[in-house]
Symmetry: C2
Subunit: 515 residues, 2 copies
Amino acid sequence: MCFKLKMFIFKNFLDFVKFSFLLIIISNNLIAASIDFSYTSVRDKILESERVAATGGSIWLNAREAKANAILMKAKNQEITEGLRNPDIYAPSMHFFHAKSRIRRSEVFRIISKMPKGSFLHGHQRGMVSSKWIIKNIMSQFNVFSCRDQRGIFIFTARNHTKCVTPLENVCTERNNSPDKKQYDRVLEKHINMFTLHPEIGLTERNKLWEKFENIFYATEDIYKYLPVFREYNKRILEELYADNIMYAEIRSSLSPLYCDRNRNYSSLEVLNELEQIVKDFKKTHPDFIGMKIIYAKKNNANKAEMCKRIDTFKELYKAKPNILIGFDIVGQEDLGEPLQKFIDELSELPEGANFFFHAGETNWFGKTDLNMLDAILLNTRRIGHAYALAKHPQLWDTIKSRKIAIEVNPISNQILGYIWDLRNHPAAFYIAEDLPLIISGDDPGIWNGKALSYDFYYAFMSFTSAHADLRVLKQFALNSIRYAILTPEEKRQFNKIFSKKWDKFIDEIINSKY
Amino acid sequence: MCFKLKMFIFKNFLDFVKFSFLLIIISNNLIAASIDFSYTSVRDKILESERVAATGGSIWLNAREAKANAILMKAKNQEITEGLRNPDIYAPSMHFFHAKSRIRRSEVFRIISKMPKGSFLHGHQRGMVSSKWIIKNIMSQFNVFSCRDQRGIFIFTARNHTKCVTPLENVCTERNNSPDKKQYDRVLEKHINMFTLHPEIGLTERNKLWEKFENIFYATEDIYKYLPVFREYNKRILEELYADNIMYAEIRSSLSPLYCDRNRNYSSLEVLNELEQIVKDFKKTHPDFIGMKIIYAKKNNANKAEMCKRIDTFKELYKAKPNILIGFDIVGQEDLGEPLQKFIDELSELPEGANFFFHAGETNWFGKTDLNMLDAILLNTRRIGHAYALAKHPQLWDTIKSRKIAIEVNPISNQILGYIWDLRNHPAAFYIAEDLPLIISGDDPGIWNGKALSYDFYYAFMSFTSAHADLRVLKQFALNSIRYAILTPEEKRQFNKIFSKKWDKFIDEIINSKY
């Protein structure tokens, strides 16, 4: 005794009241326009109101963008359809180390690669450049030595490093003497890359992931402080960003003093000058590149006196270079570091005009490390690095939204460091659904050969957003990265102008290429 | 030039305005009472407002409860402190198969085991009883045979089963003839338990998890349909619930006809009668047990005509047994099943008084399978099974809250079936922070020897809630499970009375035992 109902029929008045109530609650902004109460129509309206409320929901596409969008969505739908059939090899659900070769073959990824992505706002200077390039270039162009410290940890250096307990080996010589040079490079690269064939094993010993990660920074610290390498390295940062269609960056740097031949040392201020010059030179050859600014960032294991000193150093540097130095951060494995709360007094001395860009909530803990987010907000942070634990703190959402504190989400980093396995479970899906201020970034793409932002954008688009989310959310990611960057009005004007041009070119490319 | 500030000092009026604004937004319910603007005081108030807004936030503890709470929280803090030191062996972050032996040694778990937990509201009849007990009892007490079907899948039966292509082996005889009986039992149990030594491997081939899971149900289907086994099995369900301090259950059952010796078959209605009698008998010996009701649940791979027939069958059964049969559901791997939307017409024929308890959103997909949640709500579902994908759909939260649609969260099930690894990433942390209507359940605890609800409650308490969440959230979990159960006013009155008595006894036990 089943009747096929073309319309959703209300059994009685009560149901009707309930139903209208539901409609008002769910899509109160749409009720006025709605007189069609069929099941399908109500359902569609709720879905549409979800789309509008999410990141990118207020963007309107012009005719050409709509055309490009259709091409993008055809590719996205194909990947999803294939993924529903073979979920175990659906790249957006897989670990980056398993998925990378699949992503490279993805049409969506190819489109994203070409897309102008705006700014790179969460990156660590010494994790930015592809390890592959480092091995191929830095290790062969310069007089690089390797050694081990007393714990057996690998170190690259260009001087008699006090931490070395084994004899210095010249990397060039060793390489030339090795029977298989490619194999030698592969082994060498392992010291500066997180790759592993079976990342799933890492889930049962996640502490080791951070240890490996810290060891990579430890291995390269001294060689990156060697002025000639420093120059090449930082130039390369800009090249890799530019190659991935990124026009601007704000990079966390410790601004540690550099060394050079003949025992000449370079102070933090001189490091800033060096960086300024490198960016200037790069802009000469790449006039559509906006620039790179620096967030002063030191490790999170300081005592109060040390923190006090850092703020003082920052003040001096900031006074000298307020245009390139924009703010202050504390970095390192947050779960093991000192809580922000410890430094409230010291941190309240930040000079006028400078900003905090605190790492906070990069944790799976709840009611512990994650409280750094609360302190970051109370300290008036400009953006928050990661805020991975934010979904657990509804009391902070409104503030983040009303004060436009952008969340810097780093999908692949969170995965590789063991906070999450399937990125479709990442809380950013929720941030995007709620349209919290957010930008997508890469953290340390060099350390997993992550190609600046494209892979992270791929995951953000495919794993964090609905199957129905389209070019509008991608465009909003880029626009957010401009909006939440620290730019002068003139820089912003120029940036928007260049972005707009590049965006149009990108749209043309999609339409004209044989996607 | 750092000054230690005992108070958080506002640099200028603008900061003060910003800060008050923050305070109003974050804790608008507290502003009136607040005149203390010190950093610590503001921080504490925000944290307190988070606690109050979360599940359990409105519960007040009496003096004895407060004393018991102190004991509970001492144990919780100890585990967390130890976990911060050794995060890789912190049970709440680990997979159940790695963590089980650790959880068993946990003080928090011991307290939770003794706690009266109210109702078990999301369980599948054939996944309820510990596989260990099945092997030890069903397989030795009855004339059970095993065989393989043409795909090689294992089957237990008590008759000449048409699906068997290998000769029937008598399990008792085989066991008696085996050189190592314990080893024989272990191998046998593997056919009806999800356990694996390295669950992390499962993350790369998650489809196999559901396959294994379905094969377990397939293996036991026919033996559980054998009336003498059916009786023992369902009696055991009640015993295991009762042993874990659960007083009531609502169980999904297909009510498939039973068979017995001499070719006598039992219809679905007779199955209901059988269940009613088993519960009646159990209540005679356990007068403080409230009962067990049935949700009629069939597989999600039907066509429209079949769904129509099911609703008709349900109508008949419901007419005959409205007190024990309370509603309707569709079950199976949601990602592979038919979407709810397909059956809107058929499902709108549900008889007055009956309820839907739809599985919906048990998925990692976004904009696909998860849309079942929207249809479940539009179909006026009474509760939602899993709603794992809910955090991605802010437009549905208000409706779920205002219409008190309880979410049935099954922590261990979600983990074992590969939806999530670290349960601290489970969206339920967010549901609890937002105080969405929710109950904690076990889904199929027998299939992972999960001891009814205690392990799930342990994860819910340790992985989903803040380090500061205490006895109040646990009590609320239990109270919710009574509140969202389908009970007559008389049953509810009796339940509350019994629960209250048991709760007091539990509090006394904590205080008096040497925790």
